[in-house]
Amino acid sequence: MTRVSRLRVRGIGAFNVLLGLATALGFGLASGWKARSSLTFNPVDLSASAPWHVGTLTLATAPADLVLGLVMVALGVELWIRVPTRGVMARFGGVAVVFFLALLLWAVRTTGPAPINFVNVTAVLVGASALTMVLIFGSLSGVLCERAGVVNIAIEGQFIGGAFVGSMVASTTHDFFFAAIAGGAVGGLLGLILAFLSLRYLSDQIIVGVVLVTMLSGLSSYLNLQVLTPFPQYNTGNLAPNLPIPLLTKIPVLGPVLFDQTGFFYLMILLVAVVSFGLFQTRWGLRVRAVGEHPQAAATVGIRVVGVRYANVILGGVVAGFGGVAFMASQGQFQPGYTSGLGYIALAALIFGRWRPSGAVVASIIFGLSLYLSYNLQTFQVPVSTEVLGMVPYLITIAVVSGLIGRVRPPAADGVPYRRD
């Protein structure tokens, strides 16, 4: 089940080697021997700082990036030679993290006597965690739908709907619990529409999904002008409060990233655990996967194929709706168009993660980091224009969807209408 083709493993290995060489040469050797990079680890919110002193780490940029690049090369060579069948994704994730570290070191290098620039590792990870969380909600939604054989391309629309309604409810009730419920309900409703049209009327799932996204983006900017602009009290913009977990937040770096988060973050972790366990360890999961792989056979043993699909698509919609509210709660106000394709990137993360919750999490972390860095590298005075940086996450998505995974095997009945005959 988790076997990966040798060719694909070798491909990932080769990619890692190339990326490592590029890192060692482009970031390492090219930055000159005098450059220094400083990393700090203190959280932005000082109340969460560690009880002991966490200092600043200053490294010579060139040797550091050279070493990091060689680590990536080594990981790639290992994949190429040993061709392991398990843990390939984890290794790739490791290489990606090392790459981002090298990129950051290179971005903040200074040649002057005193370090003017520095990168706050904790702040970067906290910032990226918000985007990662939204992507995980989206790709979990995709896992639920596609494992049951329905392609949910409307995740972007469910994000928009969840964010819109979530903002209205949060602004009026000042309570993110109700906002989450309302946003989840909207996502579920959109899932119901998708399920109704594609299961009862056998419409093309991809077309229905795309048109639902178009409709939601039109409807949300219509409602933004017609309702939110004249009544700004419905879109006051609230950031969800952080719910720090005592003691654990004091762990340097990991504490603020994992244990000083909003309720949505903990909900996301809970959902990942529940969906992975449910899908692979329970009867329910076995039925869902049977429906997604071979609906006729599933029907023969008495599983209600259409019922399972309805339930999963609606559930997936609810999860994506949560993602929309979570996005709104990390950004503040609702603005039309501000999800900027996150739903589609979540879909790519799902494919990259090979339709498994754990894979989707790793992929979402990579995408979340690269999205966050491309939005924010400009603050580190990187000599590349904002527009070019802005393309990077989308280009990575394309590279990942085409080169790295190549012909992946989705659930066999994914996107195929089922008709009881």
Binding site: V151, I153, L197, Y201, L202, S203, D204, I206, I207, V208, V210, V211, L212, T214, M215, S217, G218, L219, S221, Y222, L223, L225, Q226, V227, P230, G337, S340, G341, Y344, I345, L347, A348, I351, S385, E387, V388, G390, M391, Y394, L395, T397, I398, V401, S402, G403, G406, R407, V408, R409, P410, A412, D414, G415, V416, P417, R419
Partner: protein
């Protein structure tokens, strides 16, 4: 019941494709009306007051019809013709420009939409979902702007060169998903969607940081293309009407597409591949070549649409080119679906959706109801068109043939 009337009734209640489309349109406008009613404060206030008196109920009903009626009326007069103004022009011979402007605007907007939609439709007929038409059109516009503003030639060379540059710009973006799908199996939906964002960023980059930027400008605005590269107004500059020779280009594209799909052997290969990939492979059609060629043609047409839009109307690019509501490439998907991917159908659906867009702007100006309502109506119409059985059930249409399931797209695996 008289014989003739019964036949008429029978016609309207028996399922056929054009009837389903017609009823889908009706349903789309009903959805639009519901959206207006539930979001307009004055209408909601009137309904809230209905328990206070009988007259309040009448007032609420009247206000509802007034508001919805005004919206759709201004949409019509803004997109087609205002009968009063038209009659005034007929009787006095004055003000023809004013009377014909709505129709001219609709045709101006329809020309590039027809071109892009034909491209998307050809891809759909081959079983390929090109959501990237917008990015392809943007790069077409950019490439055309380079050729039109930085090269100087006489018209008979310059205009064709500019259009060709636009086509090549679109082909360049279209080839990426084509090659990736053919050689690595990457699904075109994600690749084309992601490329839309890449090209949108590339547009801003070229406008800010390359020779295309208008000299002396700091903003994201391009040079104006030479008059020799522009698509001239169809009735001369003195007419004051913006409708231009882009309409002739669109007509040529429609004729080409009809010939290609119905008469050429390559077009036959395309349609076979779309209808039954296994059969196509068995009969020796090179699937890889078909995929790449589809994206070349589809992307090239989208690029042509982009340059026709720019060379026919603004004559320069800015950061808002084909962004948001002006995103021809996105509307083209819905237009192609409404027109059932056939050139003839696409002409009618382009005119309709162009009219909705142009009329929506007039509606926003006159009634304050946001233009985005047009997008809502368009997507509702297409949802109903994509679900013919639902329309049949709502209007209780009689079946003539068994409804067949035909998908325009395929899942991730193929």
């Amino acid at each position: 019941m008289p014989e003739g009337r019964r036949r008429w009734w029978h016609h309207l209640t028996t399922q056929r494709p054009w009837l389903v489309t017609l009823y889908a349109l009706v349903l789309g406008f009903v959805v639009g009306a519901l959206v207006i009613i539930t979001t307009t404060a004055s209408v909601l206030d009137a309904w809230r007051a209905i328990f206070s008196s009988w007259s309040a109920l009448g007032h609420a009903i009247k206000l509802t019809f007034d508001v919805v009626g005004a919206a759709y009326r201004t949409m019509f007069t803004g997109a087609v013709v205002n009968p009063r103004v038209f009659w005034h022009a007929v009787t006095t011979g004055q003000g023809w420009t004013y009377a014909l402007t709505p129709m001219s605007e609709t045709l101006t907007y329809a020309a590039p939409l027809i071109i892009a939609s034909v491209g998307v439709g050809i891809a759909f007929q081959t079983g390929i979902f090109n959501i990237g038409a917008n990015g392809q059109a943007i790069l077409g516009g950019v490439a055309g702007a380079y050729a039109g503003s930085l090269i100087h030639l006489p018209t008979f060379l310059h205009l064709p060169l500019t259009l060709l540059a636009g086509i090549l710009g679109g082909v360049a973006v279209g080839l990426i998903p084509g090659l990736l799908k053919a050689y690595t199996g990457a699904h075109e939906v994600i690749v084309t969607l992601m490329l839309n964002y890449v090209v949108a960023a590339l547009l801003i980059f070229t406008l800010l940081s390359t020779a295309l930027q208008q000299p002396g400008q700091q903003n994201d605005i391009s040079r104006t293309i030479d008059p020799s590269a522009q698509l001239a107004p169809l009735f001369g500059a003195a007419s004051g009407l913006r409708v231009n020779w882009g309409l002739a280009v669109a007509a040529l594209v429609v004729v080409f597409a009809w010939w290609f799909l119905e008469r050429s052997s390559l077009g036959f290969d395309f349609r076979v591949t779309g209808a039954n990939p296994q059969a196509a492979r068995a009969s020796g059609i090179n699937a890889r070549a078909v995929i790449i060629l589809v994206f070349v043609i589809s992307g090239g047409l989208a690029g042509l649409a982009g340059i026709v839009q720019m060379a026919g109307t603004t004559h320069y690019l800015d950061g808002g080119f084909l962004i948001g509501n002006a995103g021809i490439g996105f509307t083209a998907i819905t237009v192609a679906l409404l027109g059932r991917n056939r050139p003839g159908g696409i002409v009618w659906s382009s005119l309709l959706f162009a009219g909705l867009g142009v009329g929506g702007r007039a509606m926003q100006a006159a009634t304050g109801i946001p233009l985005d309502l047009a997008t809502v109506i368009q997507s509702a119409v297409v949802l109903f068109v994509a679900t013919p059985v639902l329309v049949q059930e709502i209007f209780r249409l009689r079946h003539t043939e068994a409804g067949e399931v035909r998908l325009a797209t395929s899942g991730w695996g193929s």
